[in-house]
């Protein structure tokens, strides 16, 4: 233990070491689980740094910053603890490389391969084993002071990093979209086929970080919110207008691949908003959402398909209504027996339903009717247009899903303040009290469940129209988990939250197919992290924030366990 001479607070070296050890686990994890090697295949800035290397750099910076904070050191004194913590993490990678030379770790961990070691040592292999140690220590040292910088300095750095990451991820899409326009020359300067060019990186960082600082220094936000209501509208409405326009033209301008992805995102926005009623308002955790999605999809398939198993040859729109109604009926039939049971039991029971429907859809029992794994083909598109029309292909699904999502959002928004909505909220808070106050538990819950089911059925119907066919393999537990994650990450009960959740959790992984392997890894992390640090979600409702934070302050000190007496 060394004490710096001119300081009153002792540096807590042990905490720095502990942070280093945790950091070592994180660094080993991101390498061995394969995130670093897979991300290495994509460039952040062409020929300069790959995404995988960026992950490592950010890890090192983060460990350094946390190490310095754990050691309670600021300013220049933070350099050493930061270096120590990051050095320990880098040392773990060095150790990994050295051990990997002696023992064939690849027999157990697929990613602990020479490729990974080359990546970590810039191609030097064993002789470069010192590289991670030194580079982590060096980068981590920088992280120390960053943590104690004033906001005015930290904010532009964060903005710059985020800008680079997002721009690099979207570079290929922007580039191919711009190449067909007069902006082609600009696109070639800014974007490489994957990742950014050096000029692009510098330009974008200056534009975005600079722009944000400009906004911050001129206090635009405060000034706008200080304006009288009418004037504020004058300022904000054009901005909303531009945003809405961007949302509307997105699939038209960014090419067919992006159109497909945004159609899927819009579909999940719709599903998220549907579950938002069940989970967000009434607090019923439904892990079997896919069951109603399946009912909707198969109903549309059966009623409209012109191929085998089709029974009616109806047009798409005529089939949507029975699909939604049937999903609702299923919601009622499945919901009735289980809505008397509470909370977590309900989650498992609904999960069971999801699995039952999934197994039945693929079983030989229903194969003569639903086609089993071969599925129902030739479901007509909702709107029949020539292939070059602006409504062709996934675009029409995008618009349809958007309209339906807006409709659901409207319904949810109006319902929340209604008598029924308040009954839902009261059930979510405390069933016993709600019942004592005259809320009919089963009926109220059933309504929430059926509404959620109806919207899931609508989602399923639109999905059938998007894909043009429906197979038993489309009915997966993952669909339910996706929707739950959207609602939870966005903020339970929050409508903009569901939109944001769908964009991040569905859009981003769909756009970057090579990372899709790690999609549920990130979901898992996101769910845990949200619950630990921000249980109210990204865009919380005012209500949820107040409730969850009140809760923390009230029970923080006394209770050891969840208050079982309350149940």
């Amino acid at each position: 233990m060394t004490v710096s001479p001119n300081s009153d607070v002792q540096i807590d070296w042990r905490s720095a070491v502990r942070t280093g050890l945790i950091g070592a686990a994180v660094a080993l994890f991101v390498c061995v689980v394969g995130i670093v090697p897979v991300f290495h295949q994509r460039a952040l800035i062409k020929d300069i740094i790959s995404l995988g290397q960026t992950v490592l750099v950010l890890t090192a910076l983060g460990i350094g910053a946390r190490g310095a904070r754990a050691a309670r050191a600021t300013g220049a004194r933070s350099l050493l603890p930061a270096m120590l913590a990051a050095g320990i993490a880098g040392g773990a990678l060095t150790a990994l490389i050295l051990v990997g030379q002696v023992i064939n770790l690849r027999g157990v961990f697929l990613n602990a391969s020479p490729d990974l070691y080359d990546l970590l040592t810039f191609g030097l292999g064993a002789s470069g084993a010192w590289i991670p140690l030194v580079s982590f220590a060096a980068i981590g040292t920088l992280g120390g002071p960053v943590a104690s910088l004033p906001t005015a300095f930290r904010r532009p750095i964060t903005t710059a990093v985020l800008t680079l990451l997002l721009a690099a991820l979207f570079a290929g899409i922007f580039r191919s979209a711009m190449l067909t326009t007069p902006l082609a020359a600009t696109a070639r300067v800014l974007f490489a086929p994957v990742g950014l060019t050096v000029i692009g990186a510098i330009a974008l960082v200056i534009a975005f970080a600079g722009g944000r600082e400009l906004l911050a220094y001129t206090h635009v936000r405060q000034r706008v919110s200080a304006l009288p209501r009418v004037q504020r509208r004058v300022v904000l409405w054009p901005i909303y207008g531009v945003l809405a326009l961007a949302v509307l033209v997105m699939p038209q301008t960014l090419g067919p691949f992006v159109a497909q992805v945004v159609a899927l995102v819009a579909l999940y926005v719709l599903l998220g908003l549907g579950l938002n009623i069940t989970l967000g308002l009434a607090g019923l955790l439904d892990l079997g959402f896919v069951a109603f999605f399946a009912v909707g999809a198969y109903t549309v398939g059966l009623l409209t398909s012109t191929a085998e198993y089709g029974i009616a040859d109806w047009p798409f729109w005529a089939a949507v209504i029975p699909a939604v109604l049937l999903a609702m009926v299923f919601g009622a039939i499945l919901g009735l027996p289980i809505l008397g049971i509470r909370g977590d039991y309900l989650a498992i029971a609904t999960l069971g339903f999801g699995e039952i429907i999934r197994v039945l859809a693929g079983s030989d029992l229903l194969k003569p009717f639903l086609g089993g794994p071969r599925g129902i083909l030739n479901i007509p598109k909702p709107i029949d247009v020539p292939p070059d029309h602006i409504l062709a292909g996934p675009n029409q699904i995008y618009y349809i899903a958007l309209i339906c999502a807006a409709l659901i959002a409207f319904v949810a928004w109006r319902l929340r303040a209604s008598r029924l909505g308040r009954a839902w909220l009261s059930i979510r808070e405390d069933e016993d009290v709600a019942e004592a106050l005259g809320v009919n538990l089963v009926q109220t819950k059933l309504l929430a469940y059926m509404l959620g089911a109806a919207f899931a059925g609508l989602g399923g119907a639109i999905f059938a129209g998007l894909i043009g066919s429906i197979f038993s393999s489309s009915i997966q537990l993952q669909v339910s988990i996706n929707v739950v994650a959207i609602v939870v990450v966005g903020g339970m009960g929050s409508i903009p939250g569901a939109v944001l959740g769908a964009v991040f959790l569905i859009g981003v992984p769909e756009l970057f197919r090579e990372f899709s392997e790690y999609r549920f890894l990130f979901y898992g992390m996101a769910l845990i992290a949200m619950m630990l640090y921000r249980p109210e979600g990204l865009i919380p409702t005012r209500f949820a924030t107040r409730e969850l934070h009140l809760d923390a302050t009230q029970t923080g000190g006394e209770a050891l366990l969840p208050p079982t007496e309350a149940g």
Binding site: I341, G343, Y345, A347, E355, L365, G524, L527, D551, L560
Partner: protein, 358 residues
């Protein structure tokens, strides 16, 4: 007044639908069984072998269910990640097993085979316990005072995180469990054919459950666990280290699940990163079936569910001319879960009304 009437009519309709569902299920079960038995297309030995495989499956479910039931008893949390802890055990056992197989120890003679299986289980337990403690520390402990839904979602997150971590580590491929040739034969018994593997599985499951039962009822730590699950704050006042009791519970449950993972690998011969999910959910079903929080109940529930899954589809469905009824075993299992939750939420042995404690 009018709203009142509507509400009562709705309540009546709900009750009618509920009864209709019950009647349909009972009719399906009774009618299906009668038709199957009357048709006589299955011989007694077929039924016997179905029962044996039900016992084998059931003892694996029972081992996993113990972890669910103990954690639920103490924290009122469905440890969603428990299925993944089980899968991790299966992988831990796999790597120990392939290593032993490569050394030639696994199949040298019956004694080394049994020792190998024990070693595999120990390896699996180490992996599972380490993982479970990590999950408890990171995903559950900070949320002990949080609303229940929050902790449950965190548990679901942990489950997916572990699944895809394992996918990242080991890939999406199928891992074939090492072949234990010595155990492939059958036990020399009259009337009934039981493979040595199956016998070994049932015996080791029974031994572990007996050990656990003794641990929980006879030792000081076990008493502490029971006290905490009865009433945590009072237990804390009596000087019991609540945190230690909780951590021990997680560790013990994970050890059982890890061992179950090895047994599962020996029966089904192949594991993937997704192997834990369905057995996990079904083991939870078994825990509910037996009465959640109740340790003998979990064992009983496991065996019961194993039987239902093994015999059920054939017994209930084949008489109704359902094609390939074995495909529908999950349907039978989950329908049973729902029926238990509706009809007797306290489970077979449970005294607590879980609907009210939950």
């Amino acid at each position: 007044m009018n709203a009142r009437v509507v509400e009562r009519i709705t309540d009546g309709a709900i009750a009618a639908v509920l009864w209709a569902i019950r009647i349909v299920v009972v009719l399906l079960v009774v009618g299906g069984s009668a038709l199957t038995l009357l048709s006589g297309q299955y011989s007694a030995s077929t039924w016997l072998s179905l029962i044996v495989s039900g016992v084998v499956l059931g003892s694996i479910y029972a081992l996993i269910a113990l972890g669910y039931t103990m954690v639920y008893g103490i924290l009122r949390l469905i440890n969603f990640a428990h299925g993944e802890i089980f899968m991790a055990g299966a992988f831990g056992g796999y790597f120990v097993g392939t290593e032993l197989s490569a050394l030639g120890f696994l199949n040298a003679n019956p004694l080394t085979s049994v020792i190998s299986v024990v070693l595999m289980m120990l390896g699996a337990m180490v992996v599972s316990v380490a993982l479970a403690l990590l999950v408890e520390r990171i995903a559950y402990r900070p949320l002990r005072n949080a609303p229940k839904l929050v902790a449950l979602i965190s548990a679901i997150g942990a489950s997916f995180f572990l699944q895809y971590t394992f996918r990242g580590f080991f890939g999406a491929g199928i891992y074939a469990y090492p072949d234990i040739g010595v155990l492939a034969g059958t036990v020399p018994l009259p009337f009934i054919t039981i493979k040595w593997v199956d016998a070994l599985i049932v015996v080791s499951a029974l031994v572990m459950m007996a050990g656990l039962y003794a641990f929980v009822t006879r030792t000081k730590t076990g008493t502490a666990i029971r006290a905490v699950s009865e009433d945590a704050s009072t237990a804390a006042l009596m000087g019991i280290d609540v945190n230690r009791a909780i951590v021990t519970t997680f560790a013990v449950g994970a050890a059982m699940a890890g061992a179950a993972g090895v047994l599962y690998g020996m029966v089904f011969r192949q594991i993937t990163f997704l192997s834990g999910f369905l057995p996990g959910v079904k083991a939870f079903t078994a825990a509910v079936l037996g009465g959640i929080g109740n340790i003998p109940g979990a064992m009983l529930g496991g065996i019961f569910l194993g039987q239902a899954e093994s015999i059920g589809p054939t017994l209930f469905l084949s008489g109704l001319q359902v094609p390939s009824p074995a495909q529908l075993k999950d349907v039978v299992a989950f329908t049973m879960l729902v029926m238990i939750l509706v009809l007797r939420p306290s489970g077979i042995l449970g005294e607590r009304v879980s609907g009210q404690r939950a």
